[in-house]
């Protein structure tokens, strides 16, 4: 899960940085070309600045020593028409740039004045003052500062070192404990097995090699791989008729909770806006307000639901979190309509990214009927 988060974060940071630094939203970045103005005479320079100061300010940035910049700014506008087209192109987007660059000009004037290096030693002084304080080792209490960082680990080691050997034998017994942990990691092994099983199912011809592991989960999808595990328990694959399939789907909604609680849930990367929108649209299609009273149509309810890994809502987990805009029976009706919407459109499972199960396992849906209200 962290990898995905890191990747997401890196992409976000990159995008934001790109937007900030990369001049993404500037339609025309040709200001640097104005460096030619550095060659222009003072009168032309004044005229050009008078028409639009923004690009010239950048020029001043290039010309560090130009102290009379303020005087130049005050001069009237007499810009030659040669430069005008460039400025008109940049005119609209430059309006904010002018304000941004103006303070830079003043800053340039201030900077040389502030070049006095007297502040530098004063800045260094406190750092040296702190140094000698640290050197005082008289108080061993200074060490506890490190303790809160690494406390759990170092404390364990000295205990083992100082402890009598008697405990070592018991520690040997604890050595087995990691093996148990490894057994937990076997939970990951079945996942590998499942991936293999899936591939076997996809390639029935190559599957028959003996695989001792996969007793852990009987999968109804393994019709083709079924000949391998001969001792398999009978599977109720009565999905021949559409009716039976519908019944199985309906029943599956209630069967899900048992399996949903057991495994460790991978969080996965965050849901994209498109994925969230897809879910929202799916539920909206089953949110029927046609049979609600006008009082119930004034109630906004927040409903929590836990989803199974199959994308189906677990009916027993649906609950009303909060409501606004009504009371009593109206809340009840609004909640029941929301519950029907979640269950109906989720009967076959919502189309949600499997690898992000941890992100959408718990969902809170706000049903706001403001637009559906009887006016």
């Amino acid at each position: 899960m962290n990898v995905g988060t890191y990747i997401s974060g890196a992409i976000h940071i990159g995008l934001i940085g790109w937007l900030l630094v990369g001049d993404v939203f500037r339609s025309d970045p040709p200001e640097p070309e104005v460096t030619d103005v550095s060659v222009i005479s003072a009168t032309e320079f004044d005229a050009m600045f008078a028409s639009s100061a923004a690009p010239e300010i950048d020029i001043n940035l290039a010309q560090m020593p130009a102290p009379p910049a303020e005087d130049v700014l005050d001069q009237p506008i007499q810009l030659s028409q040669d430069v005008a087209p460039e400025l008109t192109d940049v005119a609209d987007p430059d309006l904010p740039q002018e304000q941004e660059t103006m303070p830079d000009v003043t800053g340039l004037q201030v900077l040389p004045e502030a070049e006095v290096s007297l502040d530098v030693p004063t800045m260094a002084m406190p750092s040296f003052d702190a140094g000698p304080d640290i050197k005082i080792d008289n108080n061993p209490e200074s060490k506890p500062r490190d303790a809160p960082r690494v406390a759990p680990v170092p404390f364990l080691r000295p205990d083992q070192d100082v402890a009598i050997d008697n405990a070592v034998t018991q520690a040997a017994a604890e050595v087995e404990a990691p093996e148990v942990v490894v057994e937990e990691s076997q939970d990951a092994a079945p996942e590998e097995a499942t991936t293999e099983i899936v591939t076997e199912a996809e390639k029935p011809a190559g599957a028959p090699t003996s695989v001792p592991v996969p007793k852990l989960r009987p999968q109804p999808k393994d019709d083709i791989a079924a000949p391998e595990p001969s001792p398999e328990t009978p599977k109720p694959d009565t999905t021949s008729s559409a009716l039976a399939a519908a019944l199985a789907e309906a029943e599956a909604v209630d069967e899900v909770p048992a399996t949903a609680e057991e495994p460790q849930i991978p969080l996965g990367p965050p849901m994209t806006l498109a994925e969230q929108e897809s879910l929202r649209v799916a539920v909206s299609g089953c949110w029927n307000t046609g049979s609600l009273s006008s009082a119930a149509l004034r109630v906004t309810v927040v409903v929590a639901v836990q989803m199974a890994e199959t994308g189906k809502p677990v009916s027993t987990t649906i609950r009303l979190v909060s409501s606004t805009g009504g009371e009593g029976e109206a809340i009840t009706q609004a909640y029941e309509a929301a519950r029907r919407a979640i269950l109906r459109c989720g009967a076959k499972g919502y189309d949600l990214p499997q690898e992000k199960f941890g992100q959408w396992r718990d969902i809170e849906m706000t049903f706001n009927p403001e637009k559906m209200r009887i006016k």
């Binding site: 995905g4 997401s8 976000h12 995008l15 993404v24 939203f25 339609s27 009716l243 519908a246 019944l247 309906a250 209630d254 965050p270 849901m271 994209t272 806006l273 498109a274 969230q276 879910l279 929202r280 539920v283 909206s284 089953c286 949110w287 029927n288 307000t289 046609g290 049979s291 609600l292 009273s293 006008s294 009082a295 119930a296 929590a304 009916s315 649906i318 029976e329 109206a330 009840t332 009706q333 029941e336 519950r339 029907r340 919407a341 269950l343 109906r344 992100q359 959408w360 718990d362 969902i363 809170e364 849906m365 706000t366 049903f367 706001n368 009927p369 403001e370 637009k371 559906m372 009887i374």
Partner: protein
């Protein structure tokens, strides 16, 4: 080029992972679908042989009630994978999910002589849960239809969250004969047009019947004496008496107050029509308006504190609201055209009205302050809206054009959907919906 580049960036951003979420994934759904909810109502299981036929009839009426709302769609029995053979056996929800039944109504019926007992349950199929608890109604076999309406009301309430209106009745003016010489009489029927009974003969012209809040009495206007007079009719015994009789004046457009003991009506004297109120005993008359204009069609708010009425005091027919004790009236209709016959919703949030504009008649609703006006119908002649007991449906009169035109009753949901004609043996007009019984 820049736009393409920006679009490219947007697509990349859409595909990139969203910001790392804390806790559950959260999504907001703001748009759904509006469609009838499919339900299954298999025949109620008969406990004894005599109950079999009525069990099927009751299930049929329950389904018809629900379907008539436009909010439900019945799944036909031919689609059922398995039926309900025992009321107490567990429901095979998978069978009903497979046919996309979102609600399931099961029941059983037993008869013992003239006694009829109905037990039923409602299930949310996809959640596999029962909606509420099972209910039981007991009555006589003669009243099976009304019991079926009560079952439908309970089902409707459990699914929609608001009370039903199936166990209610309509009092209306039954019309026979040609347009120029129609014979009118008061009639009453179930909300769905069944069990029509005449309350008066057709010798005298009758108009604008209105139910009392308890549904056992009806106010109406009759020309029995040659002039319009307000009468009070007891529905059970069909006995009646004149409520307002003042020489030299005509009274009409009566309507009960929410307490059932107050009547507000129009009284025309010397060519001027104003609003009055009085006790149901015919005493304690109080003038509510005093203007040279025609003030009529008053209707109480559900809490009895205000009255909405129509008046042409501004030069054209418009809607006004004033305190129930009279006083300053505030105009609430400002749209183009003329507004009339306002009726306050039982919920108190809307006012239904008739609007005439550019030669067309409309039934519409608006907020009590006149805002959010919505026209629900449009035809040659639509008029006289009346609210269902739950404030969800409006019934009104629609008359077709021409010399052979005939008046009929229609209903429409306040959303403007599910426009339906109510079948009556003859022409019908001026419907008034009773409260839920």
């Amino acid at each position: 080029m820049t736009r393409l580049f920006t679009l490219f960036l947007a697509l990349i951003a859409l595909a990139l992972p969203a910001s790392a979420q804390q806790g559950p994934l959260r999504i907001e759904i703001t748009e759904g679908v509006i469609e009838p909810l499919p339900f299954a109502a298999p025949a109620f299981v008969p406990v004894n042989a005599d109950a079999k036929e009525v069990g099927e009839d009751i299930a049929t009426v329950v389904a018809a009630d629900l379907v008539s709302t436009g909010m439900f769609r019945q799944i036909k029995a031919a689609s059922f994978i398995s039926g309900i053979t025992s009321f107490t056996s567990p429901v095979e929800f998978a069978d009903w999910k497979a046919i996309n039944a979102q609600a399931l109504i099961t029941g059983q019926i037993s008869t013992n002589g003239n006694k009829l007992v109905i037990q039923f349950r409602v299930y949310d199929v996809f959640s596999g849960q029962e909606l509420g608890n099972g209910l039981q109604f007991a009555g006589t076999t003669d009243g099976w239809r009304r019991m079926a309406h009560k079952v439908a009301d309970a089902v409707y309430s459990r699914i929609t969250g608001e009370s039903g209106y199936f166990d209610s009745r309509i009092v209306f003016v039954s019309e026979r004969g040609n347009k120029g010489a129609r014979q009118k009489s008061l009639a009453i029927m179930d909300y769905d047009g069944s069990n029509v009974q005449m309350l008066t003969d057709d010798n005298d012209l009758v108009l604008a019947p209105r139910f009392s809040p308890t549904g056992d009495r009806v106010l109406y206007t009759s020309y029995e004496t040659g002039f319009p007079r307000i009468y009070l009719l007891d529905v059970g015994s069909a006995s009646r008496r004149v409520l307002e009789e003042q020489p030299g004046s005509i009274s009409f457009a009566p309507r009960f107050g929410p307490d059932g003991n107050t009547v507000v009506y129009s009284l025309a004297t010397n060519g001027n029509t104003d609003l009055f109120r009085m006790d149901i005993t015919g005493t304690g008359r109080v003038r509510l308006t005093s203007s040279p204009a025609i003030d009529t069609a008053p209707s109480f708010s559900p809490d009895g504190s205000q009255i909405v009425f129509e008046s042409d005091r501004s030069g054209s027919q418009q809607l006004y609201i004033m305190p129930a004790t009279g006083g300053q009236a505030k105009r609430i209709s400002f749209g183009a055209g003329r507004y009339g016959t306002p009726v306050w919703s039982p919920r108190g949030d809307l006012i239904a009205f008739t609007k005439q504009h550019k030669g067309r008649f409309h039934i519409g609703v608006m907020r009590t302050d006149g805002s959010e006006e919505r026209l629900l119908t449009a035809s040659f002649l639509d008029e006289g809206p009346s609210w269902s007991p739950n404030g969800r449906v409006i019934m009104f009169t629609r008359e077709t054009q021409g010399a052979t035109g005939q008046a009929s009753l229609y209903s429409v949901d306040i959303t403007g959907r599910n426009l339906q004609r109510i079948r009556t043996p003859y022409g019908a007009s001026d419907p008034a919906w009773s409260p839920l019984q």
